[in-house]
């Protein structure tokens, strides 16, 4: 059971079909799901089952072929590109398997990139970037470039970047896919802590240990929740 007042994102009967020369590929087949504030939801399943597609649809990175997506009570699946970008900028944090940090920027500058785009004034931007780095345990690495950081540290910088804009929803797509077991566990705990701070976190993972940290788990197969 879910509480509608606490729902950060809700998908109703969403499908996603990719037209291909050999015929349409149905990545998602009628999924309904709600993620509430303060919840860590793990989405597990084999490769190609539609986990990442679901994540992108929830975050407004992509649009469903059919069905509806509501973020903070507002329907987002019919919005234009610019409006969706604005929603992602202010309300959604994204973490990827690859960290996608900009190599010529320091950790603090990487964290500040979305805030720059959001028009946060420089002093406030610096303060929030430092706070976010402190939150992920990297305050002492603020002026290091990605090349000077370990994989785990880079992923923590990416998480700091995702939460620095104070989003309501954090989406993590295989965030430990390129990390060793110990570092992966640390990242899992960090995501758990963030959800306990009130963030709605959706975690896509193959890792059962990581999934076990979640408040809720859903398993997918062939584009459906099973």
């Amino acid at each position: 059971m879910t509480d509608p007042d606490l729902a950060v994102v809700r998908a109703e009967n969403i499908t996603k079909t990719y037209p291909m020369p050999v015929g349409p590929v149905h990545a998602l087949r009628g999924i309904t799901i709600t993620v509430e504030r303060g919840t860590l939801l793990a989405v597990a399943g084999p490769s190609g089952c539609g986990k990442s597609t679901l994540l992108y649809l929830l975050g407004g990175v992509d649009r469903p072929t059919a069905g509806s997506v509501f973020l903070l009570g507002a329907r987002t699946d019919r919005l234009g590109d610019a409006a969706l970008a604005r929603i992602r900028l202010h309300h959604v944090g994204l973490v990827f398997q690859r960290f996608f940090l900009l190599p010529t920027l320091t950790a603090e500058e990487n964290v500040a990139v979305p805030m720059m785009e959001a028009g946060v004034p420089p002093p406030e931007r610096r303060r929030r970037a430092r706070a976010a780095l402190e939150r992920v345990g990297l305050a002492d690495r603020a002026h290091h470039r990605p090349g000077q950081l370990s994989g785990g540290e880079m992923q923590r910088v990416a998480i700091a970047r995702a939460v620095a804009t104070q989003p309501a929803l954090l989406l993590a797509d295989e965030p430990t896919g390129e990390l060793d077991e110990t570092t992966g566990r640390q990242i899992g705990r960090l995501l758990q802590d963030l959800s306990r701070d009130g963030l709605a976190v959706v975690l896509v993972t193959h890792n059962p240990e990581l999934a076990s940290l979640a408040d809720r788990q859903v398993r997918m197969r062939d584009g459906m929740i099973v």
Binding site: R86, L89, H90, F96, A118, G119, R161
Partner: protein, 425 residues
Amino acid sequence: MAAAPPEAAGPTRAVAGSSVQPLAFLTVRTLVRTPARTALVILGLSITGALLLDMTMLAGGLRASLGGVLSRLGFAVRVVPRGTLPFSGDAQIVDADGLAAAIATRPGVAGAIPVIGTDVYVGRGDRRIPTFALGVPAGGSGVYTVLEGTDLSAGRADAGGTDGGVPVIINEHMARLDGIGIGDRLIVSRSPGRTLEAFAAVETCRVVGVADFYFDLPTQRSLAVPSPVLRRLQGRSGTGASLILVRMTEPARADSLARWITARDPRVDAFSIQQFLDRAGARLTYFNQFSLILGTISVAVAGLLITSIVTLSVGERLGEIAMLRALGFTRGRIVGLVVAEGVALSIASLPGALVLGVAIGDYLDHILRSAPAVPEGLHFFTLTAQAVVRTTALLIVTGAIAGAYPAAVAARLGIAATLRREIVS
């Protein structure tokens, strides 16, 4: 559930995408990412930019320089036989003295000087030296500055063949090259040889001064004699002249005076400096076409260079660009980011382009000015503020246009598909 999208909350969320600061910041950081490649591109752009500046200097420089030379001489209006340019032939203005006198009465006119120009030969022993001769009113001609000796008014104005001879002023080049000094006697004729002199008028002249002649070519021998003397040598009677030069106290009236002159005597053309430049400009079209073609090529090369390098850079950063889009950068901002890279490369190449362009232009100008028949003070490559502004604007616009293709590539990226592809690869 409501249909409206969630609003951005709080004052720090109200100005998304409105600032150029992230673009400038990210652009600079992107360019320093591969410093050697960026430096090579900037060097290449500096060279093409230098060529562009030179072509811009050539396109307007000759005209500007000619205008400068004409203005320095101080004559606001020039009157020539209809359909000619000054000293371009033997055609003469009929009753030039009468027309000059009429012009001198017009408001704003300080003086009108009829001048005859023709080729003569100066005899020194057995040699006959080709020389350009000016026939000017005795004293105060205004077409030369006496450097040594006296002006024509000090000698006998139009007498010839008697005791002292006709007074003549020669230019410095002739004095130096032929070893002629003040007091020397010269035989001036229209005939190139001693035999033919029997059939041509000959004047015995005495050098009274050495002067700087304003209309000289660098290697030209020139002399000035009183107008009646030159008319005698030409075998012409009357009061004709090749050119009337008009000084004005109010140069702003030059255009209207030129119109008045051509209305009074339809057999002449009268030009203000601007009108003269317009007519001469038609004869400079070769330079303009030359500069247009080479300038277009340099712009095209600069554009292709920028397009290639920015497209390559975008291709290397597809994942990052998709990530920026996923984080909330709009397509427009991504377009701006990539176009800004092209513009930044152009701007970075400007100092090199200007320095190199001026140096190359100076060298080319030196080569061209060493050619025969190029008037003193005339430059082909003239650095003007307009040339710098035009080159700067062309390079920046080229950078923006060249960035358009890679920008379109970046803007068309599907976020999810690109991220998936980057992660899988």
